[in-house]
Symmetry: C2
């Protein structure tokens, strides 16, 4: 294959590895996704091992993750016994999968914990000394700020997840201006 094509392949895989890392996934996950994304033909586990020079165990495990996150799909190639994979090439779909899984859970957990703290503080108020009451009010102020942040995040997520097609810019700018 021409050297330029290889170079582009390599830098794309490296860039996606970086992006994966940024989102808390493994390096290999990004490289596998990038490699599949630039392959017009589905690839087998052995193809991927060979291309990326990593063990078959890693590829097998990581492909399962990619499937779980809706970033790759299994493909049957007739006449072949091997498993073949192709990348989900709709980036918006991938983004939505990731956001609706991990990120949304994160935000909801945070809001839940913060809500519990508020309840605890309110319930305990009458048992507190005057100084402690003052501190409790201070806590409630800071917690309110955190809640505002997470509620903003929740709204932003909801907006992105609600959009069926490729995300339009109008939606996001509207949130910020309000």
């Amino acid at each position: 294959m021409h050297q330029t094509l290889n170079a582009v392949n390599e830098s794309t895989a490296t860039g996606l590895a970086r992006l994966a890392r940024f989102f808390g996934f493994s390096d290999i996950m990004g490289r596998l996704y990038g490699t599949l994304l630039l392959s017009p033909e589905p690839m087998s586990l052995d193809d991927l091992c060979d291309r990326l020079q990593i063990s078959k165990g890693s590829v097998s495990m990581t492909m399962r993750d990619l499937e779980r996150w809706g970033m790759a799909k299994e493909v049957w190639v007739r006449g072949k016994r091997r498993k073949y994979y192709k990348a989900e090439s709709d980036m918006w779909q991938v983004i939505r999968n990731v956001l609706s899984g991990r990120e949304q859970r994160e935000v909801q957990l945070a809001l839940h914990v913060l809500g519990e703290s508020v309840e605890k503080l309110q319930a305990a108020e009458c048992q507190l000394s005057p100084e402690e009451q003052q501190l409790a009010r201070y806590y409630l102020d800071r917690i309110a700020d955190l809640q505002a942040f997470f509620q903003f995040a929740q709204l932003a997520l909801h907006t992105v997840l609600g959009s069926e097609k490729s995300l339009d810019f109008e939606a996001i700018t509207r949130i910020e201006i309000e």
Copy 2:
């Protein structure tokens, strides 16, 4: 101090540690920030060591990071020689600091690399065999998708960073009901 106050303190610090980890910072960074956030008085390095049960070296290094990211500030307490710190309590400011540093760089780097790939592919086109040309066009399509994604991210970042307004609790809840 009352047990409820301690419990809230602890769960807030733990929650912020989790958030820090999510954003690619260290655990301790989140815990220190959370601890400072819930302290009406500035705290010294030794106060923080004592509260979080971690070595002074860690606290010293991590406080430098927190300062670098605009998440905490040094405070002089008259009559004391120690350094005292307080959290930057404006969450919106903290978010802007983080986004305008790391995240923005990340997006710009990605766009730069993708742009280079497009140039390389276009420059090499005339040297390619017909099959290679077809593959190059496939690459250009996939790269265009990636560029669209990063350009969207860039716009979203720009919008958030451009807004001066800090979000308050009431404003957010009002938006969500609409």
